[in-house]
Symmetry: D2
Subunit: 176 residues, 4 copies
């Protein structure tokens, strides 16, 4: 297994407005994993692992972190976004579709950083996290997807996605 220093922590779609069908459900589930997401950030800092946000652009097609953040911020998600927002020095990339690798700069960044192992966290576990994990597996990255650091609208769907990542993609899904 690659050494921890060759890892990167990938936060998927955590800067999120939750303004969609069942968005409130997903917001609730995301608050439940917020402590684990924060633990991952500490883990990353302790091991000097780079942190990469790969995020929807909310139909703006603008690589503009501040605009995206302001667009997403609302009363319901304020505590979440303030806790999880990128710090100076964290990387932040946009993606137009579900997978973090599709039509984004993610793979170039991982190559430059020499990353061999991805730690995936974020939402939704059975959609964007799973699509990103699939693409990571085809690109031969090792995967750690802590089971307590992804959330989906429905916990059963989240569990099934984790099972697929473990069985098909050989992901480690042990919790943080």
């Amino acid at each position: 297994m690659a050494a921890p220093e060759q890892s990167a922590l990938i936060y998927i779609d955590v800067i999120n407005d939750f303004q969609f069908n069942q968005g409130k459900k997903l917001l609730d589930q995301t608050y439940r994993i917020l402590p684990s997401m924060m633990n991952l950030k500490q883990y990353a800092h302790a091991h000097e692992i780079p942190i990469i946000y790969i995020n929807d652009h909310y139909a703006s097609w603008r690589a503009d972190l501040q605009q995206i953040y302001q667009h997403c911020l609302n009363k319901g998600n304020k505590k979440l976004l303030e806790a999880i927002r990128p710090d100076e020095g964290d990387y932040f990339l946009i993606k137009p579709k579900h997978s973090g690798f599709y039509q984004s700069s993610l793979q170039s960044l991982l190559y430059e950083l020499g990353v061999k192992r991805l730690i995936l966290s974020g939402i939704a576990g059975n959609i964007c996290v799973l699509f990103t994990a699939n693409d990571a597996y085809m690109r031969e990255y090792e995967l750690w997807v802590p089971e307590n650091a992804t959330a989906s609208n429905d916990p059963n769907d989240n569990q099934y996605a984790l099972t697929m990542m473990e069985n098909v993609l050989k992901a480690d899904v042990s919790p943080i």
Copy 2:
């Protein structure tokens, strides 16, 4: 030929710090084409053509227009950047390498907009513009690369790149 409304104006690396070998030369050449670049913007507005900036991220790997703009701004390029900066409603994407298509979201945006024809403008004509034009040609976009709206360090290299785009890529290189 596709109707003008299926076109997009692509500005390549125009938010630029010019802090590299021969950067002063390229800055001078870029000021020479600034009037043509501004004419293209008017042309785009008149024909309701979307304007897309595809730009270096200056080693930040952050989709953060304001940070990139502030990083680039300096005494030498101030007039240029203030004139050519993206307006609200313009698209702005980052690219990690020379071609605007490589590891960026450009093609997804063009697909969503229904674009069939690209108008390329920017710098450097014999590097990032040419690489972008090559990739556009392989993706079967029609090309208009106005000869007075690209600049390179050396005008001869710029001219040769235009000749290649005309001969190999079937680009229209007539001036704006």
Copy 3:
């Protein structure tokens, strides 16, 4: 919905040696769907829909249909391979990984053919078919994945993959 003539029938990994863990199980499941796969071929011929094979290359990295076919052929799969092999005029492409779109020429071919809707059939339903369906969805193809024309080692996994394709990817999974 796109007209049938803008569809393509995609056979995924059907030229297969089944020489892997649980390969015998998958072979048995594949014989069960062979009648439906053949019905799809008739459907394609009746509607003048192009047929595209996208297939593993069995570590050869050679775009060499005859070599791949001979490599795969064995006593157990002989009837299957003889029934399902590409006819003259069918397309045949190789893929190095699970998704038919990843590092293959598939999207270029679909673009040239003007295809908007994919009919997916083949194996394994919960791996290569699902990965291909995910990538097709991100590229905005409509999907028909007849539930009786994909097979997986385990019928439960096959069913779950179909459910995901229906719910997340908006695929039509009605049988042929």
Copy 4:
């Protein structure tokens, strides 16, 4: 610089029918570089460097080496094709467009082989070789493009392409 054993020899479009505008000119130029191309093959064998053909499919969209070879073979190119054809154990991939990397499996193969440095040879020097070199440079491969092992319709265009590869792409262009 990467050790020779991390190199790969890439033959670009050498299985060629030359049935296009100025094809006879290119065929003549290609016969002129045939001795150098054969020297490269010896060099590859001596250093245990893998040999990869990346080739047009002549509108067949079939990964079918034998069909492509038979399609291309004619009286004019017979000696060339018989000399340069892939041996057993050589890799052979198809590409739909000019660059060997675009919509092909080339990068996956290079990754699996652990290749860091490409030796490019083939035709046409100012089109498919140059496009492939551009894409290789963006993917951070070192390049050796022996000046006596590429050919273009017009020797001046070939020379200019070599100059671009040397100046922009940092390619070594010293002859074999």
